[in-house]
């Protein structure tokens, strides 16, 4: 029997998940039609019945209602195993599923939400991860639409059921997608979708700001890209000038958001599991010097069209904040994180994307606080600057200049806070030995006198401890 679940091309090997679902279905098919037996299945039968019913729901849309009734009747584990199977299908097979199967997948997701199945939040997150940034294909826009529909219609339900995490995840995803969708002006195809995404995000921010606050500082980074959209411009103004508008008593200033680190799980939301696997493989198994072919393959598969370029911003946030290599890897000859980021940065075509990639790289520097922040989040930027000096001094130069411009201009009203953040970042990186001193950075001749002055003026307090004294105490290489 050919698979009704996934498209298998003539030279593809069998997929073990597809085989296990299909075989369970073939084996149990006679038992999937009413009247259903009243006997209680053994543990093994229960597992196979779950698999068979899932295959039936996904591949026999005309019988889906019968299958789901059957499922509801046999369930004894709060749907825990069933949702874990659906999640596996999403993570492993989504891209290969037939369109009719994808539609059924959304239908069964609604069902799992309605019965509050154990693990339904994980299922929603898995589906959110399949929406690809910078992808305007019909299939991808369809998934956006289905997901924003679920979240818009179930928002209050999630609030009541105390599932804030799934809502803040959706907020993060749709704010990020809006940055893509709002760049496409007057495109009828996405106009309705954009409207729904805006409505969902604006309602969340206006009515449930206390929840939204949990996202942390990257909420500000995402909102910044939407400042040209009237609804978000108003929110942005209130964030800066009128925080009481959000009716969240403990929120009195945007700096509270700046100082709250964004959990790494948000960055995973904008990387598909396949991208995550490949990036993690690159960063744990591929030796420095052998990465070229892998970079070409990754680029061709995930960054092939110009619109996809915005994905680089998400990838840099993922690498800085969600992929922290072990000491063994750090001390080995595996390609370091800064080198991969350097590749992404160098390959940027559009200036606006390049600026956002740099912002993503430095974002945790601006508000760095040793007590809540992780040195691993700021390490790649520092090492990229230092290691680029010998061969790509222009990279060092533009990065350092970008950082200085950020400090000067990112939030003029709260410049002290940012100076403090960046200083703390520099101090900790030297103290922990990530670099021996800042001399290599600030002494090199490429930095314009203006920026050198700016640097010295901005960081007068910390410079003595990071530069001159170290020249004396540390032997030069």
């Amino acid at each position: 029997m050919a698979s009704k679940l996934i498209q298998i091309r003539s030279f593809d090997a069998e997929n073990s998940l597809e085989v296990s679902l299909r075989e369970a279905f073939q084996h149990l098919e006679p038992r999937l039609r009413p009247p259903f037996p009243l006997t209680i299945p053994t543990q093994e039968e229960y597992i196979n019945l779950n698999k068979a019913i899932l295959y039936g729901i996904l591949c026999e849309p005309h019988l889906a209602k019968i299958h789901i009734k059957h499922l509801h009747a046999i369930i004894t584990d709060g749907y825990c195993y069933f949702t874990s199977l659906v999640i596996e299908v999403v993570n492993e097979l989504y891209g290969k599923l037939f369109d009719s199967v994808k539609a059924q997948l959304i239908w069964v997701t609604h069902e799992m939400v309605n019965v509050l199945a154990m693990g339904f939040d994980g299922l929603l997150v898995a589906l959110l991860r399949q929406i690809i940034g910078g992808d305007f294909s019909d299939g991808n826009l369809w998934l956006c639409f289905e997901m924003v529909s679920i979240f818009s219609s179930k928002r209050d339900f999630f609030v009541e059921e105390d599932e804030p995490r799934v809502l803040t995840s959706a907020l993060y995803v749709f704010l990020r997608l809006l940055a893509d969708h709002c760049r496409m002006r007057n495109d009828a195809k996405i106009e309705a979708l954009k409207r729904m995404e805006i409505d969902f995000c604006v309602r969340m921010l206006r009515e449930k700001f206390g929840l939204c606050f949990q996202v942390g500082r990257d909420l500000v980074r995402l909102l910044q890209d939407l400042v040209h959209v009237p609804e978000f411009r108003a929110i942005w103004k209130d964030l800066l000038l009128n925080p009481s508008a959000f009716q969240t008593s403990c929120f009195i200033d945007i700096s509270q958001l700046y100082l709250s680190r964004t959990s790494s799980r948000y960055f995973l939301l904008r990387i598909t599991p396949e991208m995550e696997n490949q990036l993690r493989f690159l960063l744990t198994r591929v030796k420095l010097g052998s990465q070229m072919r892998y970079q070409v393959w990754f680029g061709k598969k995930f960054l092939g069209v110009p619109e996809r370029e915005t994905l680089k911003i998400d990838i840099v946030r993922f690498i800085c904040c969600a992929h922290h290599p072990s000491n063994d890897v750090i001390q080995s000859d595996i390609i370091p994180r800064w080198a991969v980021i350097g590749w992404l940065l160098k390959s940027c075509q559009r200036k606006v994307v390049e600026a956002n990639v740099k912002l993503a790289l430095f974002y945790d520097w601006l508000f760095f606080n040793e007590k809540v922040d992780n040195i691993m989040n700021i390490e790649p930027a520092m090492l990229l600057m230092v290691h680029s000096i010998p061969k790509y001094v222009d990279v060092t130069h533009t990065l350092l200049e970008f950082l200085l411009i950020l400090v000067e201009n990112y939030d003029i009203e709260r410049k002290d806070l940012i100076v403090k953040g960046v200083s703390s970042a520099f101090v900790l990186l030297v103290r922990k030995g990530v670099v021996q001193s800042l001399d290599a950075l600030i002494c090199f001749d490429m930095l314009s006198p203006l920026h050198k002055q700016l640097f010295e003026r901005m960081f007068t307090d910390m410079l003595p401890s990071l530069s001159k004294r170290n020249i004396v105490s540390l032997p030069s290489k």
């Binding site: 030279f11 090997a13 696997n277 490949q278 493989f281 010097g289 072919r293 892998y294």
Partner: protein
């Protein structure tokens, strides 16, 4: 499963291995059939792999392939290549997540038949004679 470093030319469909496709050459017609030379590799070695017919379009660089009952021998142009052959099969089992080396390249080694060995069968046993090039001369490393 054999690693590529252990394959030896032979007139038999005896190679079972897994490797990643690094680069594809241009497809050409050999009679009525399309054929295409490619560079494949695993953690131990690389080798030239000859694809045939539909295989040429089915696989792309970065694909991880599994070969069963393949053959490592000289083709019509007297190049030493690995291929599925009529009795073997090649399938795509994954993408990207496989480490590889480009040196040695088993097709860039000169092999000689072991003298006076296996006299009761016609099949010669080959041994390595010399390294012609440390890496593929058709698909040089990308650095």
């Amino acid at each position: 499963m054999q690693t590529l470093r252990d394959i030896v030319p032979a007139a038999q469909n005896n190679i079972n291995s897994k490797f990643v496709l690094l680069e594809k050459g241009r497809a050409t017609l050999e009679g009525q059939h399309k054929t295409c030379l490619a560079l494949v590799a695993d953690e131990t070695a690389a080798v030239h792999f000859q694809m045939w017919g539909e295989e040429c379009d089915a696989f792309e660089a970065g694909d991880i392939l599994s070969l069963s009952n393949g053959i490592f021998s000289y083709n019509r142009n007297n190049n030493l290549v690995l291929r599925a052959g009529k009795r073997g099969k090649v399938h795509k089992v994954g993408e990207f997540t496989m480490a590889f080396v480009e040196t040695p390249n088993m097709s860039e080694i000169r092999w000689v038949p072991l003298p006076s060995h296996n006299t009761n069968t016609n099949a010669a046993t080959y041994v390595q004679d010399a390294v012609l090039s440390p890496h593929s001369r058709i698909f040089p490393p990308m650095n």
